[in-house]
């Protein structure tokens, strides 16, 4: 658990972070979202003491972080940033192994960890491990950056717009990976982004920041349904917030489940339980149908979903 | 509005304290019975009496105090203080002359001690730091330097400093000094001018023909690697043989030693920085700019003269700057093969163990190099801002 109590940060006369209170529960993903210069990165960088705070308290599991040695503190917090910051003179494997090395893990344990992480992030331990950062694509480099952040098996993960510089498709992919990894590992994560869609997608709870203050701190659904101010309303976009709400829930939440899986007609297109309601609605509109079967991985129909059910799910 | 507090400056106190230590620990000046004997050294107090000692020490103390004060105006005050101090610095030597120079000896002279040099050096560093803190414009920097030079010039022409050994050496050979200056400048600037023309041609050839790039750059950087003394030496034999074989060359002054090998070597050295910078400058004109020019209907000639050349100019001038500084230094070495210039004084002085003669050659060489640097840097920035 990370607790920020009355934390303020000034740069000269300017106030970057203004007396914020924020609690991040163990295992949740807290996304700090806001426009550039709102203090979200500053907040993140105060948690691992890359920046000292001007006043207030930051506690990790009840301990004031200023009591710990800063290096020891950071070794237990994975850190990934937008420009990756991969060490250009080291191979991918050595980059990922840097924190295990700093923690003085035995070599074989480190090597196992490195290849485990490469696999987890969808990289090839045989070929990609020996590459140098300049030989990687942007998406690959970012995967390595995330793997490096996870390498020391930290309790806390800090991510500063890690996918900000990637193209839309790669970003989408990495967000999916991120969700999958988070389901497996359940790290307490603080994630900074300026992209509200990314925030809605990844967050357990979102903290909307503006001018150094937290405007609203709540679940994605609550933020969409009850924006605290005009600023938040603007940020989430009035035009398609209904669709965004649909995107938060999956077909599995609203479908009618059959008692037993049935053989499905191979010609009709089906939905998956993990599809978002928004995607399901899109398929229905495209096929001009009122009802679609929900298919399991094996291709059997496990249930069905109607258009009205979808639409009610969003309300 | 809150008063913005400035952190105390740590650089100026460090420099001022070093200066204070040097001034009190080292000989400030010397009195020599004649030009060869090294003479007796005097510390700050002995040389300038309590007046000089108090003025110098309190100046440095005030600088420390000012640097630690948390206001912005302090740097303007410091700058004024330091400029005045540097301008008036030679007066301290005049005090030494008044106090310690024997009246009856026509050959006696005063020399500059390590303490004085250190004081001048640290004051200059403090001024540099102050101007940096003030973010002084180039014009302000240049006028500061001119002001200090003018102050020294004024001091040097005063009767009180006529016994300064450096000025004695100069007075003894004022004509030779002028001649050395002419030779030094014409050799180095001549070499720079010739190599500029050559280099421009070579760079253009390299731009046109990519194949030529590696061999040409290889050749010019090979020549740059050969130490000056070796290159001067290696040119003696072939040029000597040439002029022996064709006597008319001798009437032109082309011999194994003298200006001819010096000029050749200087040109050879000047080619690398000049060719490299010109080539890089011409190659690095952004492609979109050239495309835009072409798109607007410029022909290749117009593109070259209206776009490429003006954009490349600052980098080309940087090449000229490096080359000129280097040529001024190498011309001093060329005195060893009889080319003349300030190097003559240096090596004569070393031969006679007359340190003031060495200074008379070395200081103007340094001064020329610094002046060339200042002028060409100013030109470069003007070229870049246009």
């Amino acid at each position: 658990m990370i607790e920020l109590k009355g934390v303020t940060r000034r740069f000269g006369d300017a106030v970057a972070v203004d007396n914020i209170d924020l609690t991040i529960e163990t295992g949740e993903v807290c996304v700090l979202v806001g426009s550039s210069g709102c203090g979200k990165s500053t907040t993140l960088r105060m948690i691992n003491r890359l920046l000292p705070r001007t006043s207030g308290e930051i506690l990790v599991d009840g301990e004031d972080i200023n009591k710990a040695d800063p290096e020891a503190l950071r070794l237990n917090m994975g850190y990934a940033i937008q420009s990756t910051g991969l060490f250009p003179h080291w191979t991918v494997a050595r980059n990922i192994g840097v924190v295990p090395d700093l923690l003085k893990w035995p070599t074989h344990k480190r090597d196992e960890r490195v290849s485990e992480l490469l696999t987890l992030l969808g990289l090839d331990p045989a070929t990609d491990a020996i590459k140098y950062p300049h030989q990687l694509s942007g998406g690959q480099a970012q995967r390595v950056g995330v793997a490096r952040a996870l390498a020391g098996d930290p309790n806390i993960l800090l991510m500063d717009e890690p996918f900000g510089a990637l193209d839309a498709i790669t970003r989408e992919n990495l967000q999916q990976e991120m969700l999958r990894i988070q389901r497996q590992l359940s790290k307490t994560t603080v994630f900074v982004t300026h992209d509200i869609d990314e925030a809605l997608k990844l967050a357990t709870r979102i903290a909307v920041m503006d001018q150094g203050r937290i405007i609203q701190h709540d679940t994605p659904e609550a933020i969409l349904r009850r924006p605290a101010s005009a600023f938040v309303e603007n940020l989430i976009g009035k035009g398609d917030r209904g669709l965004k709400l649909l995107a938060l829930r999956t077909v599995g939440d609203v479908m009618e489940r059959y008692p037993r899986p049935r053989q499905s007609d191979p010609l009709t297109e089906g939905l998956k339980e993990t599809d978002s309601l928004r995607a399901a609605l899109s398929v229905m509109v495209w096929q001009n149908s009122d009802q679609l079967p929900v298919l399991s991985e094996a291709g059997d129909a496990v249930g069905t979903v109607k258009r009205e059910q979808l639409l009610q799910g969003g309300v | 509005m809150p008063v913005s507090t400035q952190p105390p400056n740590r650089v100026i106190p460090a420099l001022a304290l070093s200066a204070l230590a040097c001034v009190w620990l080292l000989d400030f000046g010397l009195v020599q019975p004649n030009r060869i004997v090294s003479g007796t050294g005097y510390g700050l107090y002995a040389a300038t009496g309590w007046l000089g000692a108090v003025v110098v020490s309190s100046l440095l103390a005030v600088a420390v105090g000012l640097a630690l004060r948390p206001t912005h105006k302090r740097f303007w005050v410091l700058a004024l203080l330091l400029i005045t101090a540097l301008m008036a610095l030679p007066l301290l030597l005049e005090m030494l002359a008044q106090r310690k120079l024997p009246e009856d000896s026509a050959y006696a002279r005063i020399g500059i001690g390590a303490g004085f040099w250190c004081l001048a050096f640290f004051l200059a560093l403090m001024l540099l730091e102050t101007l940096g803190q003030l973010k002084a414009s180039r014009r302000l920097q240049l006028s500061t330097v001119l002001l200090i030079v003018a102050g020294w010039w004024f001091c040097a022409t005063r009767e009180g400093l006529s016994s300064l050994s450096l000025i004695r050496e100069y007075a003894n050979r004022a004509d030779q000094f002028t001649q050395a200056l002419t030779t030094h400048l014409s050799l180095s600037l001549g070499a720079v001018a010739i190599s500029a023309v050559l280099a421009f041609g070579l760079a253009l050839a390299m731009v046109r023909r990519e194949r030529l790039r590696r061999p040409l750059l290889g050749l010019v950087s090979f020549m740059q690697t050969i130490p000056s003394l070796a290159l001067f030496g290696l040119l003696i034999a072939p040029l000597g043989a040439l002029s022996a074989a064709y006597p008319f060359l001798q009437t032109l002054g082309i011999r194994g030693i003298g200006w001819a090998p010096a000029m050749l070597a200087l040109i050879a050295y000047s080619l690398l920085p000049m060719v490299r910078n010109t080539y890089v400058a011409l190659m690095e004109v952004p492609e979109p700019v050239v495309d835009a020019g072409r798109g607007m209907g410029m022909n290749e000639r117009q593109i070259f003269f209206k776009l490429k050349l003006p954009l490349a100019l600052p980098v080309i001038i940087e090449g000229v700057r490096i080359t000129t500084i280097q040529a001024i230094g190498l011309t001093a070495v060329a005195a060893l093969i009889g080319a003349g210039g300030f190097g003559t004084f240096i090596f004569q002085g070393l031969g006679q163990a007359a340190m003031d003669l060495v200074l008379l050659g070395a200081l103007p060489t340094v001064f020329l190099a610094l002046a060339a640097d200042a002028i060409l840097s100013a030109l470069k920035f003007q070229g870049a801002s246009r």
Binding site: L50, Y79, Q82, P88 | V11, L229, G233, A369
Partner: protein, 243 residues
């Protein structure tokens, strides 16, 4: 192994010439037909070569140590105040001609090896200092940020990240410094250092071109051999870190 071929060959030629020049007297009678003293004999070439290399080596070692530590100091939080001044001094200092530094060392320290060494150290550390600053300053800030964020201590950031990344630029500075110092050490003969400049100076003073040529050839070869050695080291460095 191919990059090491050129330096090894040049060093071999240099050593061979230093040892065998005295046996080549007939060759030099062609250059200087009117005298019997065709070979410089006051010191052996071998001795002069060693002494020349020794001067350059010592000055390069001291210069590197001083310049790199100074460069590191002014880029740490404790010394950052000094950075603007130090980098300005490093670039202004390089406009002073090396021969002037050499000449000015004599009034300060007298004649001999010591003033030469002082001048070589002082002048030689400037390019190294400048390149150290450029190398350390040229590192992508994101790399340093993430190194710190990973939990490296300042010393680990310096030795594992900053110095390896700046190493190539620093090495180039050392190369420049050594190239200049080989040339300056040769001129050091005029202030009493024993270097390969001795035969050249003696030849110029006595009008004996044979001496001049002997000294000049050895100095030139020494410079070329050193330069190609650095070339090879730089390549090896580049391969090790693949940058």
């Amino acid at each position: 192994m191919r990059p090491w071929l050129a330096p090894v060959a040049l060093i071999a030629v240099l050593c061979a010439l230093a040892a065998l020049l005295p046996a080549m007297a007939p060759l030099f009678s062609w250059v200087e037909p009117n005298t019997d003293s065709l070979i410089y004999t006051r010191d052996s070439f071998w001795f002069l070569l060693q002494s020349h290399i020794w001067l350059v080596l010592v000055s390069a070692t001291i210069g590197t140590l001083v310049a790199v530590s100074a460069g590191i100091f002014v880029t740490r939080p404790a010394g950052r105040d000094f950075l603007p001044l130090v980098s300005q001094v490093a670039s202004i200092g390089q406009t002073v001609p090396p021969v002037a530094v050499l000449a000015l060392a004599v009034p300060a320290m007298g004649f001999g090896e010591k003033p030469t060494l002082l001048a070589l150290v002082l002048y030689g550390l400037l390019p190294i200092l400048r390149n150290t600053l450029a190398g350390l300053g040229g590192i992508n800030p994101a790399v340093l940020e993430s190194a710190k964020g990973m939990g490296m201590s300042s010393a680990q950031v310096l030795f594992k990240v900053e110095l390896p990344l700046a190493g190539r630029v620093i090495l180039a500075g050392i190369r420049t410094s050594v190239t200049i110092n080989i040339a300056t050490a040769a001129i050091g003969s005029t202030i009493g250092a024993r270097t390969l400049g001795d035969p050249v100076i003696a030849g110029l003073v006595n009008g004996n071109t044979a001496y001049v040529v002997q000294g000049a050839i050895l100095i030139g070869l020494l410079a070329l051999a050193t330069d190609s050695l650095f070339e090879a080291i730089e390549r090896a460095w580049g391969r090790t870190f693949s940058i």
